[in-house]
């Protein structure tokens, strides 16, 4: 176990990349998810079809395959991305599809009368969405979004295959150097667990805050 503590700095650096990729992918995933949800609900039919196709393809293929396509596959077309950039792009696209489903459900869960009241007061669709529908949908979407977020944190371990030295790969590198497995794997498992728990706690606090608001 001493080996783990001796190399804590290296592992923490891995944890930093795990966190960085999670936060960036989640941020862009949120934007994609919201845009796709609105496209599917209110867009003209070509956009609707496009959005539906996107969600179907992403949900129907393994994240690992999506990651290698972005990193290795695009090279064939002369697009060479850095490993971290490729990781963030692939995971954003991936999580965006899942979040768009969450958002779509949440927007549809807001009673129809809310949109009618907003329209009746003279608002445009965009004003009604921004001021009336989305704030209420956010509250509905928060718990499932939290699950996606924690899932994302763990899914980042997949990008170790494209040479991003996140938490899993930093453990693998140390294992290759010292020829012992278990302590490093246990060590990173604990680190993943700590990060997941911290996120979960944070999300619960946010849910409580939102629940109190009205």
């Amino acid at each position: 176990m001493d080996l783990v503590f001796d190399n804590a700095g290296f592992l923490l650096r891995g944890a930093y990349y795990t966190l960085l990729i999670t936060l960036l992918s989640m941020f862009f995933g949120l934007l994609i998810g919201l845009a796709v949800a609105l496209m599917r609900l209110r867009g003209p039919w070509p956009l609707r079809a496009l959005a539906r196709g996107y969600v179907s393809v992403i949900r129907g293929t393994p994240a690992l395959v999506q990651i290698v396509i972005v990193y290795y596959g695009l090279v064939d077309y002369g697009i060479t991305l850095g490993p971290i950039t490729a990781a963030v792009i692939a995971l954003s696209i991936n999580v965006g599809a899942f979040l768009s489903e969450t958002f779509r459900g949440a927007i549809q869960a807001v009673p129809k009368g809310q949109l009618e009241a907003a329209y009746a007061s003279g608002m445009t669709t965009w004003q009604a969405m921004r001021r009336i529908i989305l704030p209420q949908a956010a509250r509905i979407a928060l718990p499932p979004m939290g699950n996606t977020f924690v899932g994302m944190l763990k899914e980042t371990s997949l990008v170790s295959v494209i040479t991003v030295t996140e938490l899993l790969r930093s453990a693998q590198l140390l294992i290759a150097q010292y020829y012992v497995n278990m302590p490093f794997y246990i060590g990173i498992a604990v680190m993943y667990w700590v990060m997941s728990t911290a996120f979960t706690t944070l999300l619960h606090a946010m849910e409580r805050r939102l629940a109190r608001a009205y």
Binding site: P111, G113, Q114, E116, A117, A118, Y119, A120, S121, G122, M123, T124, Q127, R131, I132, P135, Q136, R139, A213, Y214
Partner: protein
């Protein structure tokens, strides 16, 4: 103030409105009566475009919309109609994430682009008018049904509409809360507000309406002053309708 011509609303094969013409003068209080499914709520909702008319035309507060217009043009015109009208719903439809004051000021802020302080001043005045000054910071979930509907009326009044549309405003209320909402509506009537009201409150219709319009099967069957309508309805369907209502008592 309002004129609907040859209004038809078709849901699939069913004609909910079958060629309705309605005229409402400024300051009039028109009560729409009729059995459920007669099309009275649909007629009301066609006036501000919450329901898309299949054919015909409406003119409200000087803005004319024809069913034949392009969707974009129609939508734009209905938006300007909505900015000149207020609507009160059966289920209140208050914004649950906003306080009573926030509900009243929302359209002023968002649609009119008014500054917060000015909107709040107007909002507070309107809440006082419906007797709810002390609830200004309360969220709808903390208010009784009657209080919620009064806030909704204040909200509908915020943009100084020329017409108020009421869609069964007391139907979702417990009986003991109906009175406070009707009192606010009577007060508005006294002040000369133009109102179109879908309701089952016969007492309100009798005492406050300038005219009663009776619908059945998507058509206007009878139109009369309330005294005449209730004392001696001409059509057989209206007679039956009134008998049934009295039988319930």
């Amino acid at each position: 103030m309002i004129e609907a011509r040859e209004l038809v609303k078709q849901f699939g094969s069913q004609r909910v409105l079958d060629g309705v013409g309605l005229k409402v003068e400024e300051g009039e209080i028109v009560v729409l009566l009729g059995p459920s499914g007669s099309g009275k709520s649909t007629l009301l909702r066609c006036l501000n475009g919450l329901e898309t008319m299949s054919s015909g035309s409406v003119e409200v507060a000087g803005v004319a919309v024809d069913a034949g217009m392009k969707p974009r043009e129609r939508e734009a015109r209905f938006r300007s109609i909505r900015q000149r009208t207020g609507m009160v719903f059966q289920q209140f439809n208050l914004y649950p994430h906003k306080t009573a004051l926030g509900n009243v000021t929302e359209a002023l802020r968002v649609v009119r682009g008014m500054a917060a302080a000015e909107a709040d001043r107007i909002g507070e005045r309107l809440l006082a008018r419906v007797g709810l000054s002390d609830k200004r910071d309360a969220y709808p979930s903390r208010l009784s049904g009657g209080q919620q509907q009064r806030v909704a009326i204040a909200r509908a009044l915020a943009t100084e509409p020329s017409v108020l549309l009421f869609d069964e405003p007391t139907s979702a209320l417990d009986p003991e809360l109906v009175g406070e909402v009707l009192a606010v509506m009577r007060e508005l009537a006294r002040e000369g507000m133009t109102m179109v009201v879908v309701t089952h409150e016969m007492k309100f219709a009798r005492e406050a309406a300038s005219r009663v319009v009776f619908l059945d099967g998507g058509r206007i069957v009878e139109e009369a002053a309330p005294a005449a309508f209730f004392a001696a309805p001409r059509s057989e369907r209206a007679q039956r309708f009134i008998r049934q209502l009295q039988g319930e008592r």
